[in-house]
């Protein structure tokens, strides 16, 4: 008897708008079991099972980059269709209503309520490995050791509250949102693709949720 297994590999598009190192995210998502395409093509970003919005640097320049490739429209479309999105670092920050940098307020994509503001800590940027307090119903952290550390590098963050969202927090001069989920939209302030085994587990959980 021949038994056929149909294994579906979820497709993930990584939005390419000229922001930093995308290679690590691409490789880490491949390892997590996705078929990955790094692309600035809007149709591909809309059609993929999952869309990753990366981002490093300044909020305003990331927003400019995203808008320049039509990423804002792809994201809005996916939000409307309840299609999964994962924002990473500044790619997570731009999902909020606005960002305040150097006294200047830049509108964000407004998927989540709230403002991204400068960390109030002695050491800024917040750079390095920190622990995250995640509630058990945040499935991104399924199977992740509560003492696990994730790699952060940022000077700004959202603090919430975000109505109806499940959030994990981190403390650096005060609590901020380290990870968030509401409906099909997830985001992490840390870099899962740079967070060794703990980050790999988070990405695996997200890719698994795409099936």
């Amino acid at each position: 008897m021949v038994v056929a297994f149909i294994v579906t590999t979820p497709t993930v598009a990584i939005l390419d708008y000229g922001s930093g190192n995308l290679r690590s995210a691409e490789r880490a998502l491949l390892r997590a079991g996705a078929a990955v395409e790094v692309t600035s093509d809007r149709a591909t970003c809309v059609a993929a099972n999952g869309l990753v919005v990366p981002g490093v640097g300044a909020f305003a320049s990331c927003m400019d980059g995203i808008v320049a490739v039509g990423g804002d429209r792809a994201i809005a479309r996916r939000v409307r269709d309840a299609a999964p999105i994962l924002g990473i670092c500044v790619g997570a920050q731009v999902l909020f209503e606005s960002g305040r940098e150097h006294g200047q307020t830049t509108p964000g994509l407004g998927v989540f309520e709230g403002v991204v503001e400068r960390l109030r800590a002695d050491r800024v940027p917040h750079m390095g490995w920190n622990t995250v307090a995640a509630p058990t119903d945040l499935t991104l952290f399924d199977g992740v050791d509560p003492d696990a550390r994730f790699y952060f590098v940022h000077s700004y963050a959202a603090t919430g509250p975000v109505p109806g969202a499940t959030v994990a927090t981190c403390d650096h001069g005060g609590r901020f949102i380290a990870a968030i989920n509401r409906g099909a939209v997830s985001a992490t302030q840390f870099h899962p693709e740079k967070s060794a085994d703990a980050g790999a587990a988070v990405l695996r959980n997200w890719v698994r949720s795409l099936r």
């Binding site: 290679r23 690590s24 490789r27 490093v56 490995w129």
Partner: protein, 254 residues
């Protein structure tokens, strides 16, 4: 402080090969930076730094290949330094898979480059690397050097660190030329002096010879410690350094 103290091995890479004689148990090819990077990743390194010491411009392309292959294999942050002279150099390294670049001589010659890089890619990509030597002519007593400490500059090391941070450097790597290679411990007064003038993370480098040398560097104000030969020659392992830091009460990643 709940953020972990970072332990960072540094590899000198020349024309795509690790130099400065590495003796690291269990590697097939101790000269391959990618294999060594993976071994350090397995051992619990919190970040990796490649210093491209390639003298010939023609051979510089090999570093991009090394960065590319490393980023595909090792999922911790990677900093690349050496020969970074322009925004387009930074762009190429980031596209190859680097997370940060360290700059040194080029920004001494042209400080505006700090702001140019920070505006384009954010401060977090920019590690300002300082080679510091005692210089009684400077107000702080420490001067910035270039060419591995052989040439003095007109810059006071402490004042220059503050200026670089103001211009947009996201981290300050403090390498004591005097302590480097002595294995007598980090230059603690130097670390403390620079810590006092910047809010950005400070990475201590130069002088590590034993596990007990690491906690005092953190006590002096460093957020991270970088070392090369003690790790390469197997005198110390990353877990040994982390044990020592943890015993001193500092958080580390396990």
């Amino acid at each position: 402080m709940s953020i972990a103290v970072r332990v960072i091995p540094c590899l000198d890479v020349d024309a795509g090969r690790v130099v400065k004689g590495v003796q690291f148990a269990g590697l097939r090819d101790v000269g391959d930076p990618v294999e060594l990077a993976a071994a350090y990743g397995e051992a619990g390194a919190d970040e990796l730094t490649f210093l491209d010491v390639t003298a010939s411009v023609d051979d510089r392309d090999t570093v991009y290949d090394v960065v590319r292959r490393t980023a595909e294999t090792v999922f911790i942050p990677l900093t690349v330094g050496g020969g970074v002279r322009s925004v387009s150099d930074v762009d190429r390294l980031l596209r190859a898979g680097a997370d940060k670049v360290s700059v040194n001589t080029a920004v001494i010659e042209r400080p505006e480059l700090i702001g140019e890089i920070a505006r384009r890619f954010g401060s977090q990509v920019l590690v300002m690397s300082l080679d510091v030597a005692p210089n009684p002519a400077m107000p702080s007593g420490w001067g910035v050097t270039t060419h591995g400490g052989r040439r003095l500059t007109e810059l006071d090391a402490v004042a220059w660190a503050a200026t670089a941070a103001d211009l947009g450097a996201g981290e300050i790597l403090v390498n004591s030329i005097e302590a480097d290679g002595t294995k007598q411990g980090f230059d603690l007064p130097l670390i403390a002096a620079i810590r006092a003038v910047v809010t950005a993370p400070v990475i201590a480098s130069g002088g590590a010879g034993a596990a007990e040398h690491f906690p005092p560097a953190i006590a002096a104000g460093a957020d991270a410690v970088l070392a090369a030969s003690v790790f390469h020659f197997g005198q110390l392992t990353i877990p040994q350094v982390k044990d020592e830091l943890a015993e001193a009460g500092y958080p580390v990643r396990r």
